[in-house]
Amino acid sequence: MSLREALIAALSSLADHTLRAILTTLGVIFGVAAVISMLSIGAGAEQEALELIRQLGVRNVIVQTKELGDRELAEARRRSPGLTMRDRQAILDAVPGVELVAPRAKVRTWRVASGRRTVDANVFGLSDEQAQLVEMSLSEGRFLDRLDVESHAQVGVLGSEIADELFGDAGALGELLKINDVWIEVVGVLAGAGEGEGAAVQGVSFESPTRSILVPVSTALRKFDQRPSDSPLSELVVRLGEGEGVPSSQAAARLLQSLLDQLHSGADDFELVVPDALLEQSRQTQRLFNLVMGFIAGISLVVGGIGIMNIMLATVLERTREIGLRRAVGARKRDIVIQFLTESFAISALGALLGVVLGVVLSRLISAAADWPTIITAFAVLTSVGVALTVGVIAGLYPALRAADLDPVDALRYE
């Protein structure tokens, strides 16, 4: 009997017991669906994390102001004023391989307005280096330049939403707006390609650029009131160069740590974010997640395999006379083994197929319901289907061998 024929026979035998076949294969269906949907969530999360980490820049090390409680803050401020432009200069001078250090200050606002219109905006003080760090695409005007920073110019670049809300279709360029009690002239508007909402990965948050107003960092420090306990800068992004003699981002982080410890007299008021390390960490988390999910899905597939074996043993018993007859008309043991193996293979293949469909549907549903990105990888589909088919064949092996080993005389006489 050719394999093709055996497969056709197996499928027609399954078609005779459709409900039973589907019930039998439920374990495999759920196993495969679980593997595919879980891995799709994992892959989606990983891609999102990688994307955010890439936005941070793998050649960057970020020095952030640490969020502290009142008492800790008071303790820290006794020794250190927080992150300052002095730290920036020190890093440029002392750490080898640093290409640039981009400062960022967060301005506390109580009112952002133009005429009678007011908006909620995040106001940041940045330097011209920001444009080297992240590509700034502007829909009109220009970005902040060095002169703005050096002259504490009262100029600003608006996020697209802010520009729209304050000035509408009239065009924001050259218009004035008032942040707290400081007049700012609009010199540029960012292109509206923002993500819409902010995002966060591993403790690093991204504010939406569309709702931001960017002013020169010097202006932010000089012309806006700050609370004495606030750190002047919220973060310093240290970009490392490429080539010989440039320390790895992890080594640079160690240098930064000791340098800033010295400058801050040991005050624990900053923390370092190393995207490169985050990347590695994210990958490790992902591996662990996949391992756990794979294990759970594997158990489900094993249970599915037991289900198949169970039904195959029942089938063999049910068809004992058929086996005897086939042996009487010339079937070898091998032919009987192939017949039943093909059938268990067909059951698991059916399960795998339905499992893939269910897995894709589940993954879409999860995506829609929980708003998580999911990615169905070829790896997940091939692995789960491969394992399911293997389980099917292994589960069918024992019943098939038992069928083949039946004594033809006894089998024919079986009632």
């Binding site: 009997m1 024929e5 027609s12 035998s13 005779d16 006379r321 058929e322 005897g324 007859l325 086939r326 042996r327 009487a328 008309v329 010339g330 079937a331 070898r332 043991k333 091998r334 032919d335 033809p408 005389v409 024919l412």
Partner: protein
């Protein structure tokens, strides 16, 4: 129906048993089903093996049909020793040299008459296209050409047994073994089935029928009676019909 075997084979013995013994072990207990049976069957014979239940007639039939192996003794089929054969060789022998007809027909309920009749061809390695043609041919031979696409549950008992006979004939066997072929049929249908077997015998097929019914045995030219695992009589009733 024309004779399909060359004349030269007719003078040779088809089957030869020498001191056949078959002992079953049931735990510590040993049950002797056959206690030394000698038997020769020539090509073209029409033989009835008779006996009460437990006489060993079915055991003998299973050994003749290569479904079972003797515990001791020799069995030669078409000149070849069967007792030492590998399982695969036995399968091949069953498929090509022997045709079985059972009391309970043993048709596969999912298959129609053609596919049931063609079943042995699957294992004889006959290409799919040829199978159907040959199955239709044997179904015509047993008078069921018009029922070829019916499943067993759509056929009467007699028709089912005819399909089973067609299946037994499809590989042109040397030896047709029928185990109580009319046991599940009424007397009228039984007579029809026996007429079909008579006809096959007249066409040159060697037919061995296991039965306990006098009515059935009457059709046969030679009658073997068994009791307690031994042959108690072996009579040629109609010498003229021997090959």
């Amino acid at each position: 129906m024309s004779s399909r075997r060359p004349e030269i084979a007719r003078s040779e013995l088809l089957a030869e048993c020498c001191q056949l013994e078959r002992v079953y072990s049931q735990g510590a207990l040993e049950v002797t089903a056959l206690g030394g049976v000698d038997l020769s069957i020539q090509h073209g014979e029409y033989l009835a093996i008779m006996g009460t239940s437990g006489s060993g007639k079915s055991t003998l039939m299973n050994i003749l049909g290569c479904l079972d192996r003797p515990t001791r003794g020799e069995y030669l089929l078409t000149g070849r020793h069967v007792e030492g054969m590998e399982d695969d060789e036995l399968s091949s022998l069953r498929g090509r040299t022997i045709g079985f007809v059972f009391q309970t027909f043993n048709l596969l309920p999912r298959l129609d008459a053609v596919d049931n009749a063609a079943l042995p061809l699957i294992y004889a390695g006959v290409p799919v296209k040829e199978r159907r043609a040959r199955a239709l041919e044997v179904l015509e031979q047993v008078g069921l050409a018009d029922r070829s696409s019916h499943r067993p549950n759509e056929l009467s008992g007699g028709q089912r047994q005819r399909v089973a006979i067609a299946r037994a004939l499809i590989n042109r066997p040397e030896l047709l073994l029928a185990d109580e072929p009319t046991g599940n049929l009424d007397s009228k249908t039984s007579e029809e089935v026996m007429e079909l077997l008579d006809e096959l015998h007249r066409g040159g097929t060697t037919v061995v029928i296991v039965t306990h019914e006098e009515e059935i045995a009457r059709h046969c030219a030679r009658r073997l009676v068994m009791r307690d695992g031994h042959v108690v009589s072996d009579d040629v009733v109609r010498p003229g019909s021997l090959g």
